[in-house]
Amino acid sequence: MAVVTALWYFARGTGVVSLLLLTGTMLLGLLGPLRVSSDGWPRFVLGGLHRNLSLLVVAFLGIHVASSVVDTYAGIGWLDAVVPFGSVYRPVWLGLGAVAFDLLLALVVTSLLRRRIGHRPWRVLHWLAYACWPVAVVHAWGTGTDAGHGWVFLLTLVCVAAVAVAVAVRAVLGPRRRARAERPDPVGTTANRPVAYPRGVAGRRGAAS
């Protein structure tokens, strides 16, 4: 009995953490193209954090799914984690979780293979993030044991508000930032100007790979 209860708590806890991490990933992704940076917060930190947080989400979702399935009380099967709307237990709410999980896996895999896929197709595919995150939130809100009340409910509201603000800022400032980066003649001369490698410089350590 104690083990079963622990599994259920585990599923709930990792679910909440996953939602927070996914929201963090979403926020970092939204801010990326806005070119925010400072001396202590260079651009590659944002990109690296976005990437690493997303991988952390996958890890936490792995535990979230595993603990939900291993806990036999609700009767959730392994297939229900990836095949939506087939479960006996709350098919719609759980199905939305499966949809979000599938979308996230697609986002992660295509990003890891970005170089093979090419920038433009990858970018188009990455718009799926705008579907993944809301579906995950609805799943959490709909079936989360803790979602309807207390601090988890507040936390969900904060997540939704934060992403809404970030989307608005991105929508307003994003195109403007891009326009400013454009220079009159993109086929530059400076980009091809030969300069020599300076002696004794090493790249930054611990940078995003």
Binding site: F44, G188, T190, V195, A202
Partner: protein, 69 residues
């Protein structure tokens, strides 16, 4: 048959002046007044290969590459 050592190259059309390459390769990649990279010519020194690869992978628009041609 000699294998050509890779050198840094940028696709000037794809580049959007995000500037991550200059952050990751300070003192190697400098930016022009619009924020576009100025790359050193010639093969990347062995000590800088790993950093160069990181910069290539970090480019948000995949404009930077290590070319062997």
């Amino acid at each position: 048959m000699a294998v050509t050592a890779p050198h840094l190259a940028v696709d000037p059309i794809a580049c959007q002046a995000h500037g991550l390459c200059a952050e990751l390769l300070p003192g190697v990649v400098t930016l022009d007044e619009w924020g576009y990279p100025i790359l050193p010519a010639g093969p990347v020194p062995p000590a800088l290969r790993a950093a160069a690869r990181r910069a290539v992978n970090a480019c948000p628009v995949l404009a930077l590459r290590l070319a062997t041609d």
